[in-house]
């Protein structure tokens, strides 16, 4: 069952006099997100991530293409589907004079919640997002981290089945980011919420997402699990060996070895799959009478995948 099904989405923005400057933000983006998944959208600035997220969240109308959330069209059934989705963004902002509980009460009211249900939900979110000590503080006086936590609390007020997070940890201290990531993971684990997030932090995407799509110039260039994407760009695993005596000349010709860099007694080589090639290499080195003093294997970071796609 798909939570999000977007097909061939196109969106262009016009600016300048008489709209003469035209910027293509999306050029045929398609996306399928299963229910209960955490799905990452990665890409360089201006790639179209926020545009895609905004169309799915019913805030923006596509020029072409279609998108459904839980089977309902985001254009024709926008008002109805809004009851079951919500969004939080890293640069969220709320009305300056409202206190955290008042922000939540206001938005809870807009979702039709009232009475004891609304009161209990506001209290539970205040507690869950650790906003209790700042109950009396007006929005403008909250720190960036607290504002971000309030944005997440607001995004959970209607217990959404589909949650859009646009750079949720932007500008946060590392400890706050870690706690926020834990909350996001718990949402899926405990409630089965489908989460679609954009982020610039590769570690965040690697840690949280089941699947990731790389978007650039309004098009989805690659899609898959983090491991699939790492394999897809063929940068391989890096094996670092410390050998005695020196590296044999035929080392670079061994099957699966893509690149070799030698520094003194240390050899750094890229192989297509460390799991498959490492035993073969070790066996070959043993046959050559070379002693392996140290061996380390590095899988490629998602960051390297990002750089490769963004190129």
């Amino acid at each position: 069952m798909l939570a999000v099904d977007a097909r061939d989405l196109h969106k262009a923005f016009t600016s300048g006099w008489w709209g003469r400057r035209r910027t293509e933000a999306l050029r045929g983006a398609s996306l399928q997100v299963p229910r209960g998944a955490i799905y990452g959208l990665l890409g360089p600035n201006g790639a179209g991530k926020t545009t895609l997220l905004s169309i799915l969240a019913t805030l923006l109308l596509p020029d072409r293409g279609s998108a459904t959330i839980l089977g309902h069209d985001v254009v024709r059934e926008a008002t109805a589907i809004r009851r079951r989705l919500n969004m939080a963004s890293g640069n969220a902002s709320f009305v300056w004079s409202l206190r955290p509980a008042e922000v939540l009460t206001f938005y809870g009211g807009l979702y039709g919640l009232h009475g004891s249900v609304l009161r209990q939900r506001v209290e539970s979110l205040i507690e869950q997002c650790e906003l209790g000590p700042h109950r009396k503080t007006e929005y403008n006086a909250l720190s960036t981290g607290l504002k971000q936590r309030l944005a997440l609390a607001k995004a959970l007020i209607n217990e959404p089945e589909v949650l859009f997070l646009d750079e949720p940890t932007l500008g946060l201290d590392p400890d706050v980011s870690i706690r926020l990531r834990a909350q996001i993971a718990a949402l899926r684990r405990e409630r089965g919420t489908t989460i679609i997030l954009t982020t610039h932090y590769m570690r965040e995407a690697d840690e949280l997402c089941d699947r990731i799509a790389f978007i650039k110039s309004g098009q989805i260039l690659a899609e898959g699990t983090p491991d699939e994407l790492k394999r897809q760009i063929r940068i391989g695993d890096v094996v670092v060996l410390r050998l005695e005596p020196a590296v044999p000349a035929e080392f670079a010709d061994q099957p699966g070895v893509l690149q070799v860099h030698v520094r003194g007694d240390q050899v750094e080589c890229a192989v297509d799959s460390s799991e498959k090639r490492l035993p073969e290499l070790l066996r070959w080195l043993h046959e050559q009478g070379v002693l392996v003093r140290d061996c380390q294997v590095h899988e490629p970071e998602l960051e390297e995948v990002f750089v490769e796609f963004a190129r």
């Binding site: 069952m1 798909l2 099904d5 923005f13 016009t14 926020t50 545009t51 905004s54 969240a57 019913t58 805030l59 923006l60 109308l61 459904t68 839980l70 089977g71 309902h72 059934e77 008002t79 109805a80 589907i81 809004r82 009851r83 079951r84 989705l85 919500n86 969004m87 640069n91 969220a92 902002s93 709320f94 009305v95 300056w96 004079s97 409202l98 008042e102 009460t105 206001f106 938005y107 809870g108 009211g109 807009l110 979702y111 039709g112 919640l113 009232h114 007006e138 929005y139 607001k154």
Partner: protein, 279 residues
């Protein structure tokens, strides 16, 4: 026609209780009330400007040695302008608060309709408009001996209702302009009402306006409400069936303004302005 797979993939949306409609309306009123309590500019809107307007116009009538009838003519206009101004600002705040705090997208991400925004904030506007009226009535009565119930309680109630409905229309117009043109249009929140009252014979009879402007005035409901209420103070009517025509025109404009704002929001979703207003 949907395929079977599409039909099966659609999860039915649960029915909402009718109370959700009222709650959404209440939410907008709730926010406006909190803002009114916490921001000093609301106090000025409610007391300072109406008080200054009533005192300065009252003193002007003294300086010009106007009789009680003519004083009533002027001060009815003064009350109308202040009540309409304060009430329409509350309606415009439904969008302006989000513009100023860059939180526009959060509001339009929720399943609200224009009716919730408009009615919720308008109700607070009506309450504030009544406070303005009572304050001005007290100042007018105490300082210049003006009797605001002189035209009768029924016409007074109709007059205030007419003023507040005019505010709803102007407020929705301002919301539409702001949603269409962004912060460039926010000054319309203060300018629009002054333009409308100028054309509706606020301190002078419609008959002294140039012929073509009188034609324009006939399209403004407030022209009818002022004309009808002033009849209670002995002024000859300019319009026939002024109450009826005023309210009929108001009903038409309320529907039109609702449609206009809906169209403006759709356009803003298409152009991306809705998102830009949140950045």
């Amino acid at each position: 026609m949907n395929s079977l797979a599409e039909t099966l993939a659609r999860e039915p949306l649960p029915r909402e209780p009718w109370s959700a409609e009222l709650v959404r309306t209440w939410a907008f009123a709730y926010r406006n009330v909190i803002m009114a309590r916490r921001n000093v500019f609301f106090v000025f809107e409610l007391t300072f400007w109406p008080g200054v307007a009533m005192l300065s116009h009252g003193l002007l009538t003294r300086f010009l040695h106007l009789d009680a009838r003519m004083t009533a003519f002027i001060l009815v206009g003064t009350v109308a302008l202040s009540a309409v101004q304060v009430c329409q600002l509350d309606v415009a705040y439904a969008v302006l608060f989000d513009i100023w705090s860059k939180s526009m997208k959060h509001q339009f991400l929720t399943p609200i309709g224009i009716r919730h925004m408009a009615v919720g904030s308008w109700l607070v506007g009506v309450a504030r408009g009544v406070v303005v009226f009572l304050l001005m009535a007290a100042i007018g009565s105490w300082s210049f001996g003006f009797d605001f119930i002189g035209g009768g309680p029924g016409p007074l109630a109709l007059f205030l209702l007419g003023c507040f409905l005019t505010s709803l229309i102007i407020g929705l117009l301002v919301c539409s302009l702001v949603v269409l043109f962004g912060t460039r249009a926010e000054t319309s929140a203060w300018a629009a009402v002054n333009f409308v009252v100028m054309l509706s014979g606020i301190y002078y009879p419609i008959s002294i306006l140039p012929g073509w402007v009188q034609g324009v005035s006939a399209f403004i409901p407030l022209s009818y409400f002022l004309d009808a209420f002033r009849q209670g103070y002995g002024f000859a009517p300019y319009y026939t069936h002024a109450w009826l025509r005023g309210f009929a025109l108001t009903a038409f404009y309320v529907v039109l303004a609702h449609w206009g704002l809906a169209a403006a929001i759709t356009r803003s979703r298409r152009t991306g302005l809705l998102l830009k207003l949140s950045e």
